[in-house]
């Protein structure tokens, strides 16, 4: 497990300093009112090897390679935390929350899905903020098996007005668990895509948006992630997946993308990423899964 301070090998000249970064945790405003708390996890040596073998030019040998977990804290007049990082990172999440919130309460904790690396600190957060309302996806049948039976259930019809920020819960188009939702924020026009649109990054790129790094996010980089996490792309009719992706590109045109396992993508840059993902699907459907994450 790497300490936050180790992520300093290269610093792209164009990248602004994160708004706030201390030994207590990783965070910054990624867009107004949206704060980003990142868990790097360890260096992924196996993926780094695969990247080097592929001849990719975005990764510099010797750098650490990360597939992060992201949680996002939304602060309007009320506050909402989207996901909680993995159980290995309570020591990152809770101090970051305390510093970002100060005296303010945490009003909502919304879980994208009850997957361990996303929901791993749910109990700790609810213990620290006992008046916080737990919010969970409405879809699915087995909420009681995840301690989610008493949560406030949300789906595509629902909106939570945070005062200045408004979140909605569109259907998760690409997903793993059955109990699953995506989220959008309508003031900043941000789509939180959870397990979709993730990609690895390297030393010096943590807590940067895609417009703040010097390297490109291309098909191969997106494929390294999705050929592992969306292993089921190997079994699909590619045209069904690309049709769903094309529909998202229309529905969320201009929205920034805030994935759980990659760097956020500004809205003005997002359009080409949908077509990159279509190529990823075609490649995995033809070539099989890349491994396990």
């Amino acid at each position: 497990m790497n300490e936050p301070g180790s992520d300093t090998e290269t610093t792209p000249a164009a990248a602004p300093e994160p708004a706030a970064r201390t030994g207590a945790g990783w965070r910054r405003d990624v867009w107004p009112g949206i704060h980003w708390i990142q868990e790097l996890g360890g260096h992924r040596a196996g993926i780094a090897r695969a990247v080097l073998e592929s001849g990719a030019d975005w990764y510099r040998p010797g750098n650490e390679l990360y597939v992060p977990q992201n949680a996002y804290l939304l602060t309007g007049e009320r506050t909402l935390l989207w996901d909680t990082l993995s159980p290995a990172s309570g020591h990152i999440l809770l101090p970051a929350l305390e510093e970002l919130l100060g005296d303010r309460p945490l009003d909502y904790l919304a879980l994208s899905h009850p997957d361990v690396p996303h929901a791993g600190n749910t109990m700790q957060v609810l213990r620290r903020y006992p008046d916080c309302q737990l919010v969970a996806p409405a879809v699915g049948e087995t909420h009681a098996l995840y301690h989610l039976d008493d949560a406030m259930k949300v789906g595509p019809e629902d909106e939570i007005d945070l005062g200045g920020l408004r979140v909605r819960f569109p259907e998760a188009t690409f997903l793993d668990a059955a109990i699953h939702t995506w989220m959008s924020e309508e003031a900043t026009r941000t789509l939180f895509t959870v397990d979709w649109m993730g990609f690895p990054h390297q030393s010096g790129e943590s807590l940067r948006r895609t417009d703040e790094i010097d390297t490109v996010v291309d098909v191969g980089r997106l494929e390294e992630f999705h050929s592992r996490v969306m292993f089921w792309f190997q079994y699909v009719y590619p045209h069904k997946v690309t049709a769903a992706t094309d529909a998202l590109a229309v529905q969320f045109a201009g929205y920034g993308l805030a994935p759980a396992h990659g760097l956020p993508i500004p809205g003005e840059d997002a359009a080409p990423y949908y077509e990159l993902m279509n190529e990823v699907v075609r490649r995995v459907a033809a070539g099989g899964r890349g491994g396990v994450l």
Binding site: S86, D115, V116, G140, M230, W232, K240, G291
Partner: protein, 244 residues
Amino acid sequence: MSVIDLGGGVSWVHESFPETNGHIHVSVYLIDAPEGAILMDSGSFHHRQRLADRIHDATAGRGIGAIILSHSDYPHSGNIPAFRQDWGDFEIIASCGDPDLQGLPYARRTKIGDVTEVLGRRFVVLDPPLADRNHTTWVYDEASRTLFVADGFGALHAPGASHVDWGRLPEEGRAEGVHEFHAQTLPWLRYADPDRVMGALHAMLEQHPPAWIAPIHGPPIAEPDIPRYMADLKAALTRIAERD
């Protein structure tokens, strides 16, 4: 009834949970290995005490010596901490890129393709065509020819039928139980080509012919019933694919 013996040292410790259109198994399996009892998955916290009592009885109070975990999903992994308190810091064998992130810092990592020995018994670690989480593995127990398939090969059942194997479920509603399970549990099947999924499954069954297929979320399927299950599964996948 405590546990149901499938032969070859494997027994089914079944538990069920009520859903809208039927009940779903959230079971575990016990394997009698030369050096102790292996538990396949740990079940849901929802059934913790009943599972612990039945495992205690079935092992004559010795408890379990190891858990092979299919994936970290809570209804499979939820009892690991409690069982380790009951029976000591036994070995956890799990597949995942990073055990810490899955809340399993103490796990021994396996990889797809491994042949691994657990308490003196050999298991082949397989790449599952039907799974929700990417790090899921299925395992084939060579001694009993049991294929443990986690979220694969599930089926809902009617209340009252929680203790019978799949082939002995009433014919009426049985195929629907296979469809209903897959439609709700594996949401990606809406994009799947049924022929590709079935092809991968047939190849696996040919290479590792099972005497029993042992799912967590359905009754075990005996060898003579596998062709009928596969036919129902193919129909279910086709229905799901055609719906979207």
